[in-house]
Symmetry: C2
Subunit: 348 residues, 2 copies
């Protein structure tokens, strides 16, 4: 089944075997209409016999389209980014695009530029950046060149098209839920202060408190890790021991919430009897913690789909040369509160 010489077969080999010109082979492969049915079959038989695969490199060279999209991410082992990546991957595959991935080790502008260069070198047609940090988004926005780009969780004001979960709304719902249960206020443990999600959730928390006329206690700054949740949970236990009324905690993500639960348990405090806890993310474990964790669900698959759609729109607009008429798009995916066992009324 090999072409003369043992090389991997090329179009000309198929053409020779099928007794047609290489252009006819190309037509068959690309599903061009005006080819006789019998010829199509003959060519396909030849393709199968030789085990021919079209050389995508040569095709890309002449069509000027690589069919490759880039994904630039910061930490794909975290729950949110991993889910988003999976969503993008699936959407891209369904749209017939290949996906090339590059991770950032740090968010310095130099690192971002290097990563973007890496993708540009590879002639990606566009790029989705899972860009949860302020500095990263700014570095992206200032990239030279006409690379179509979409930022996931990119915040506002960067001028980039953005897809994000409505973090503010999610946080507000969580806080309102706790206030509605009768808590006089809600404490907050923030995620990594460099992350935009962290900022947005803190903003929603603050706004919900202010709207309800509740006091706004000083928030604590974590780094998303269970360890920081534990440490800051202990800090809150200390404040409570010092007389502060700490009966409800809105934690920036579920991993930190696990650390908080641990700290409360060590201090002999019941959840939700003494203190209520609400997290963010709805990791699969949340429902099976003890107690099960109230949290805010984000539809990452939807984020992935939306960001791909936005990127494809941009690529299309760039190809037709038309400027984006609606300006940089911004699509917001709603978040959804999941009430579970870790939130209840305050102690009397």
């Amino acid at each position: 089944m090999n072409p003369p010489g043992g090389r991997t077969p090329v179009m000309a080999d198929v053409a020779r075997l099928a007794g047609v010109s290489h252009q006819t082979v190309s037509r068959v492969i690309n599903g061009h209409p005006n080819v006789r049915q019998e010829t199509v079959l003959r060519v396909q038989r030849a393709i199968d016999e030789l085990g021919y695969h079209r050389n995508s490199t040569a095709r890309a060279l002449v069509t000027r389209r690589t069919n490759v999209l880039g994904v630039l991410a910061f930490d794909t082992t975290l729950f949110g980014p991993a889910q988003t990546l999976a969503g993008i991957e699936r959407a891209a595959r369904e749209a017939g695009y290949f996906l090339s991935m590059v991770s950032l080790d740090d968010v310095s502008p130099a690192g971002v530029v290097a990563a973007a260069d890496f993708l540009i070198q590879q002639s990606v047609e566009g790029c989705i950046a899972i860009a949860p940090q302020r500095g990263l988004v700014d570095a992206l926005a200032s990239l030279p060149g006409p690379l179509p780009l979409v930022a996931v969780e990119g915040g506002e004001g960067s001028g980039l098209p953005v897809v994000c979960v409505d973090q503010v709304q999610g946080a507000e719902e969580a806080v309102r839920h706790l206030l509605a249960l009768g808590h006089h206020t809600v404490h907050h443990i923030e995620g990594d202060p460099l992350w935009l999600e962290s900022e947005a959730r803190a903003f929603g928390w603050r706004r919900a408190l202010e709207e309800a006329g509740a006091p706004v206690p000083e928030p604590l700054q974590g780094d998303w890790s269970p360890r920081s949740g534990y440490d800051l949970g202990r800090a809150l236990v200390g404040r409570r021991a010092a007389g502060e009324r700490v009966t409800a905690i809105f934690v920036g993500n579920d991993q930190m919430a696990i650390g908080v639960l641990r700290a409360l348990h060590e201090a002999g405090l019941g959840v939700p009897g003494d203190v209520s806890v609400v997290g963010f993310d709805d990791i699969p474990e949340a429902e099976y913690l003890t107690p099960s964790l109230s949290t805010v669900y984000q539809d990452f698959a939807q984020v992935g789909r939306e960001s791909l759609a936005l990127l494809l729109g941009e690529i299309g607009a760039g190809r037709t040369g038309s400027a984006d008429p609606a300006g940089a798009g911004r699509r917001v995916v709603p978040a959804e509160l999941r009430q579970r066992g870790s939130s209840g009324p305050p102690p009397p």
Copy 2:
């Protein structure tokens, strides 16, 4: 800074601006020695001025090397695969390779072939498959064509080069640890039975029990999810109520272990007072659960590095035409027991 006509600049544009031939530009870009220092500078200035980037497609066409590696994965949102992927990505980038990713929606042979075709279409030079399932490995092993391939967690006997964590040893250490604490036997909740890791851990568990002369209770089959851990935890509680001596449980992964902890807690059983629990994976949350979870750590970053090294070796061997003299490689990364609060001596 634009080339005539507003096209993206090509080598000839740079050559014209620098007053040299395009081949000299190529020499400068590729760091060829015999170019006068002054010429190098002139060319580099022209490159900067035009914002020129080499067209990787054209280069790949003529060199027959794409510098792209494929990663084929099943579910990259799970902890292990996500970590492994991150490790591979970093190693690939350091080696100057691009990474193209494709996920499998199902592990049917047809799905595997489609995914592999997708990568072959893209002219990847080789492929790493994060292939935790028996059927997937078999489908991979039977792929036609000379694509260099490495399987991560691919089990034995497939004929493919494999990198894996020593699941058996990890499981044995976990079980021996529990037996050493005085438990008369150890129960086991398996992961998804289709996964090789599941099989290997169950094998290690059984072997450790048999070596110690301990009875081997019927294992329970889960699916890695917290929910299945919870359900099977309740089942074990039931067996215990029926008189069976259940004092130690080795759980196939940490997520299921969380469900087990929940089930034990609901039944009023103390951990480790009444029942000891050991998981597998060492997810970041493990240390901060209540109680902190004893588990088995796997160095996924190392797995990523090793698999990339193995693949590059294969690619090199293929290029030089030399058959792999050592046969399909197999590299095993040791696992490591992490003793924490969820394992202790049995009740008297």
